[in-house]
Symmetry: C2
Subunit: 331 residues, 2 copies
């Protein structure tokens, strides 16, 4: 996190006002402040919170090559046709060197560029491990406060941190495709278990039926192991939708499944539980980030460097060094 001391071009309250007024540049500017770890983020969060809680946060993930961008774009069109305002946060693992997000095939989303009911943003997460957990819910809060009905958080869905982020959505959609080799295997690590809706995209290709069959079997096994996922009330059985996003086939069914899940979440009380979990996770991530920044200040003051040198020199083990470092925090 870079703690820049440069003030934003306009006061936070003014930017929030403009964002709520539907000005996309203000929305973008607020998300940039979050990415940059601007010192006024507490003020921003405080200004946004009263206006939040209305958007449905949808996590959208799957391994590379399943057609995620095409499906996202088609999904946006379908949601728009239903009168929804849609925000998209495309979360890319960032380069430790350039710090930049890969825009790549984000270009395909160009068809929505002139639609004021759509806001699309690639998010970079700078530097450190907790970046995604820390920035994504805050960016989603901006879109929520700005009146977007649905916020799609799109991730590559391979790393653990992305699983963590997407697992904090109200509804998690996992996209797969036939003929990905070890595609399902790659996605298996974490994301399959958290899916509320499965989309088998490129369903016109050989092997789609076998992906569906594998998913059905996995869902049956998972339900047996886990038992009912909520206490009382009917539980949610993950839906499986087949689509060919490039031809807009199956997209409305995805939207319908997301909507059905949202209804179930409201009725079952699961929505409140997930939002509580998301808030816990965010508060914890912010607290960790603050403590990390304090450790980072120590790094600037050479404390960490000299402890590390003693570890390399085999004088000190890293636990003893960590104890010293924490003691230096003045606790």
């Amino acid at each position: 996190m870079t703690l820049e001391s440069v003030p934003p071009a306009a006061p936070i309250s003014e930017l929030v006002h403009r964002a709520r007024d539907g000005q996309p540049r203000a929305v973008g500017r607020l998300i940039s402040l979050i990415e940059d770890g601007h010192p006024q983020l507490p003020e921003l969060a405080s200004a946004l919170v009263p206006h939040t809680g209305n958007a449905q946060i949808v996590g959208f993930t799957g391994p590379p090559g399943v057609g995620k961008s095409t499906a996202t774009s088609a999904l946006v069109s379908s949601l728009r046709a239903g009168g929804k305002r849609v925000g998209v946060l495309a979360v890319d693992p960032s380069s430790p060197f350039s710090g930049g997000a890969l825009l790549g095939d984000r270009i395909r989303m160009g068809e929505h560029a002139t639609d004021s009911g759509v806001f699309i943003r690639s998010m970079a997460t700078r530097g450190h491990l907790g970046g995604l957990a820390w920035a994504t819910p805050q960016a989603a809060r901006v879109l929520d406060a700005a009146g977007f009905d649905v916020v799609l958080i799109e991730t590559v869905g391979v790393g653990q941190s992305e699983v963590d982020v997407v697992s904090l959505a109200d509804t998690t959609v996992v996209l797969l495709a036939p003929g990905m080799g070890d595609g399902i295997q790659a996605a298996k690590a974490g994301v399959l278990e958290i899916a509320d809706v499965f989309v088998v995209n490129k369903a016109d290709r050989d092997g789609a039926e076998s992906v569906v069959r594998d998913l059905k079997q996995m869902i049956s096994l998972g339900r047996k192991e886990l038992g009912s996922s909520n206490m009382g009330g009917p539980s949610w059985r993950p839906r499986i939708v087949q689509s060919v996003a490039s031809r807009d086939e199956g997209i409305d069914e995805i939207v319908e499944s997301i909507s059905a899940h949202h209804d179930w979440m409201n009725e079952s009380g699961e929505l409140a539980r997930r939002r509580q979990r998301r808030a816990s996770s965010e508060v914890e991530a912010i607290a960790i980030e603050r403590l990390r920044a304090e450790l980072g200040d120590l790094r600037g003051g050479d404390a960490l460097d000299s402890l590390a040198a003693r570890v390399v020199g085999r004088e000190l083990d890293p636990y003893a060094a960590a104890d010293s470092l924490i003691a230096d925090l003045g606790r």
Copy 2:
């Protein structure tokens, strides 16, 4: 991290002794203690540190489907033929539900199962974001102390946390292959910039030459941007090796490149710099983990839950909640 209070089957000092004596079960048991976040880890680190510093830590990464497991296995054979003892840590993103690593095609490594000069282990990282950064260097330390000459850390190389882990190796090898669609694109996010050696595997396939050409161009551009990476002395220009791992072609060249990089690292002083950086990162990760555990204790005590409920209820913004949480740490 689960802080188990169950003591290990044998005292730490005894396990360390057995591991240094070449007993693979003791090595495996010590790595399990690390994965489990056992309370005696400080004692373990302290017992290991005096015996470390001899192994070359090699990060080995690339997107799914490039033949990483086959290449790793061939690399192990080649290193063994050169008389080296080799430890392999295969780092898999873990499932937040099962907590288990995917063994998958780890089976292909079976040919080394009876070789006492080889130790292969899939590592799971439980639960939270910093898991990889926290556990991997400690597991590598076990292998180093147990007398392995080379420790290969194999990751999928897509998530940020994996880039962070692999960037802490002495030498980083990035594996690519032609015909991966957006394979290079997928790898681009972070790992390309940190490669010391590029391997273009499946080099008998169409498109291999174009991957090599792209890499050469990228390396030239990168060097122009970054300038020389070390002060004084010759800098290291990332090597590009072509291989067909399934036929053992090019494997000795990979080993030779890794060895050449190690020699350069020693001569240029870069080895000391990287090890200092690795130790800094590890000490910081342990310190963060300790602070996180303290926050977790607060969670057990409902402080975090009640703060999160107030955030959901829009009474409190998450920064104010994080401040309260840190204040509760008694600082």
